[in-house]
Amino acid sequence: MKVDKETLQKIAHLARLEVRPEEEAELLNSLNGVLNWMEQLNEVDTTGVEPLMHISPDLNVLRDDAVANHLPRAQALANAPQHDETFFQVPKVME
């Protein structure tokens, strides 16, 4: 697989990153380097090997259904760049 300019701009857009034209060549080089390196894995024969879906050593880390740990609203809002006494606020978004 090879990343082209179009794919680069698409994934940059999905990540809400702005990529200037003069940065494209270096980013393409770097991303393709990573992919090429990973492609070495294709040389391994994985016949009969279960796909690894998760690397966690733990299973079933569950909590009981109980209410706790609320943040007071004023404290919850305090770190937001924009808020009033009730709501977090962002520039107007409409679908």
Binding site: L14, R16, M53, H54, I55, S56, D58, L59, N60, V61, L62, R63, D64, D65, A66, V67, A68, N69, H70, L71, R73, A76, L77, Q82, D84, T86, F87, F88, Q89, V90, P91, K92, V93, M94, E95
Partner: protein
């Protein structure tokens, strides 16, 4: 309206609708799916939030055991296979109501796979005798997003109380063929989640939500057309209207020679039309990957059978019990098994009176009417099962008439502490069953109508009604008509 229907039915002989539904159910847990904030509707904005919900750096989600059990209940009720090894996935997109920049969901390992829900459809005579199974593709667990409020000022306000509410998303196969079937499916889903006690099924408050995927194809074709998703459907009726409107739009677009665009559309309940919201992004754009913060979830045999044995009775089993154990007609059983609370109330009343059919009549009639009027859920109904049972006993023993019982029922709602017997006494609603007093009235009436008495004795037996009516009048309606009837017959046959 007739003119609008005619071309529609012409059209539908050429094209058929292929419909899939995505239903989201908010689970009735106390706390959220990955954090301990309260899961309650209607709190003050941003009061049910925690550092996990707000996605503060360094915080870790932890899965709510009950949310898993509720999802499995639904899967078992629908005959799904339960996935034993689950991983949660990040669904990545940016929107201000999503604090982390991704939604925790399931992708490769939905907790329930396959399964079906049986729906009843009307035959050509309008009777619900046709049965179809709506096939379920899968059910997965995920978290709800917060709520954006757009209608004030220059900014969008955000309330994160809803963020992290546990959801199951049920996705059907594209196997639904009509608005009626879509509506019946939703009705059954709502009934099931309420029976299972996992969701309150309130579409207006958004605890049950439905998106429609619809495409059309020439009748009999096997390929699938371009799919359009319709959102913003807050009632079963509106889901059905949206299906009809979108089917018509796609047929008309196709007949005009234009392509169907892959879109997300919104339904406007005022106009009954759908409008384009956005062009659909492709699936891969969500860039799902396993969430490294949540350990995999394994459902053991022991856990699964514990959940299975804690399952409440399902609507089909309840229907069966109503028709066999209680001997109710199918119509009654259908009406009562509509809501678990109604059935529980029915069984509680039947524990105290053997007249099951009378209980059913009261529930389908006055009790239901009161529930609708007062928008009360059955469990909050002020008249207790014991009170209704003793009211029914009062009628069965002839102590009060049907009419008086209706009055007493109304009084009971206003005075939930009173007993039916006290109310009957206090309001003079008991039937006069004093045989001596009634005998006097009977004699008076028969003496006043000698010619009618003679006619009766010559065989004009339908005059009995006249005599009974006259005695009832004299008693000012308080006499027990059955007893009066009997006294008159006795008197005339002397």
């Amino acid at each position: 309206m007739v003119a609008a229907v005619a071309p529609g039915s012409e059209v539908s002989t050429e094209y058929e609708a292929v419909i899939g539904l995505e239903v989201h159910c908010q689970l009735l847990t106390e706390s959220k799916i990955f954090a301990a904030d309260a899961n309650i509707f209607g709190s003050e904005p941003n009061t049910n939030v925690s550092v996990i919900t707000l996605a503060h750096p360094g915080t870790l989600p932890k899965l709510n055991r009950k949310a898993v059990e509720y999802a499995i209940r639904m899967g078992l009720a629908c005959g799904c296979d339960i996935t034993r090894f689950n991983v949660f996935a990040r669904k990545n997109y940016f929107y201000p109501d999503l604090p982390k920049g991704y939604q925790l969901s399931q992708d490769k390992t939905p907790i329930c796979v396959g399964g079906r829900i049986r729906v009843k459809l009307k035959d050509e005579n309008g009777k619900p005798t046709l049965e179809r199974d709506v096939q379920i593709h899968h059910i997965h667990l995920e978290e709800d997003a917060g709520k954006s409020i757009h209608d004030e000022g220059t900014s969008t306000n955000l309330d994160y109380n809803r963020a992290g509410t546990p959801l199951i998303e049920m996705v059907t196969e594209p196997c639904i063929q009509s608005a009626e079937e879509a509506g019946q499916y939703l009705t059954e889903v709502r009934k099931l989640v309420r029976y299972l006690g996992i969701c309150d099924g309130n579409m207006e408050e958004g605890s049950l939500r439905c998106d429609v995927n619809l495409s059309i194809r020439p009748k009999g074709a096997t390929h699938l057309g371009t799919k359009v998703e319709v959102k913003n459907l807050n009632s079963i009726r509106n889901v059905q209207r949206a299906v009809e409107a979108e089917f018509k739009r796609q047929v008309e677009t196709t007949q005009a020679g234009e392509p169907i665009r892959q879109q997300t559309r919104t339904f406007d309940a005022n106009t009954g039309l759908t409008h384009a919201m956005r062009e659909k992004e492709t699936m891969n754009d969500y860039r799902y990957f396993p969430d490294p913060d949540l350990a995999p979830l394994v459902v053991s045999d022991e856990w699964l059978s514990a959940i299975e044995s804690s399952m409440p009775a399902l609507p089909a089993a309840v229907f069966q019990k109503l028709t066999t154990h209680y001997g109710l007609p199918e119509y009654d059983a259908t009406q009562l098994s509509d809501a678990r609370e109604l059935v529980e109330y029915f069984e509680a009343v039947c524990a105290e009176t053997p007249n099951y059919k009378a209980v059913s009549n009261w529930l389908m009639g006055p009790v239901r009417a009161q529930l609708t009027d007062r928008a009360l859920r059955e469990r909050q109904f002020p008249v207790s099962a014991g009170q209704l049972a003793s009211l029914i006993t009062l009628i069965d023993t002839g102590t009060v008439s049907q009419t008086a019982a209706q009055t007493i029922f109304g009084l009971l709602i206003e005075n939930p502490e009173a007993t039916p017997t006290d109310l009957a006494k206090a309001h003079g609603l008991e039937q006069n069953r004093n045989t001596d007093a009634l005998q006097t009235l009977v004699s008076e009436v028969l003496a006043a109508w000698p010619d009618k008495v003679a006619q009766y004795q010559k065989g004009k037996k339908n005059l009995l009604g006249l005599f009974v009516g006259e005695v009832m009048k004299k008693s000012k309606g308080s006499a027990d008509p059955k007893l009066v009837n009997q006294l008159i017959v006795n008197e005339l046959s002397k």
